[in-house]
Symmetry: C2
Subunit: 153 residues, 2 copies
């Protein structure tokens, strides 16, 4: 089970590297269906799209719903290299995704910021969450990106 999580998280991290190469905050996401087939992929493109709907999770979910021809992703799991923000968490819940696996934590923008909100939100929807898969690798990529940004500016 752990091997599977690492395998899919590595795919998400590969996508995060693509974002990095395009000078976007390096976050990548994939969605797998009940048969563990990848049905959606995305990497952060907020600057390219000039829209906050350019988050990796949103792009991956959009592709998955198109592939499934349904907004209901009931037996699907999302892998994302960074803890989702509150907008993405709510889209994940509305899309009825079964579970989330994430890598690096996001103390500033992650939904965990409001501890109580997180619990009540999750309880209402009973979504499964597994955190910290390939955390060091995901976090390092983000660190490198912001270090490089500071050097440039």
């Amino acid at each position: 089970m752990q091997d599977q999580h690492i395998f899919f998280m590595q795919k998400a991290i590969e996508l995060a590297r693509k974002a990095f190469a395009h000078d976007e905050v390096p976050v990548g996401a994939i969605i797998i269906d009940a048969n563990k087939k990848i049905i959606g992929t995305g990497y952060n493109q907020v600057e390219k799209k000039q829209s906050q709907l350019g988050h990796a999770e949103i792009i991956a979910i959009t592709k998955a719903t198109k592939k499934m021809n349904s907004w209901r992703l009931e037996r699907c799991w999302l892998y994302v290299s960074l803890e989702p923000c509150a907008m993405c968490i709510n889209l994940i819940l509305l899309s009825r995704i079964e579970g989330i696996v994430f890598g690096a934590s996001s103390p500033k923008f992650g939904y965990q910021l409001d501890k109580e909100g997180l619990i009540s939100l999750y309880r209402r929807n009973t979504i499964q969450v597994l955190q910290g898969v390939c955390q060091t690798e995901s976090a390092l990529l983000l660190k490198q990106f912001f270090q490089q940004k500071r050097v440039k500016e």
Copy 2:
């Protein structure tokens, strides 16, 4: 000032009627810029698009960011016939919209459900919220839609 709010909310309600005509939950939204020019419109298309990204607010924001060629909608206001859900509230905040005016309340899906969450969220981002503009009209449209649905089923 109140007249302006009613004028723009009526535009949002007109869009909600379009959603109704397409057999979608009747919610409409518009965005105005600092000059009070409409720069984005949307009506609910969740079923047509088979995506939770079909919410009226999301469609209006997408159009506005394209028009402005920027994800920053800093001096813009959103008018929406129904209280936004938690996903939309977070997109609104991330997009740096200055204020929201909404019509009908949404006790089930509105972000107000978590009273504390709402307050801390708003405080963090200092967004202005005005509620209950054309509330009766917005709510009646939703009531009629769900009544009609029940008769059909």
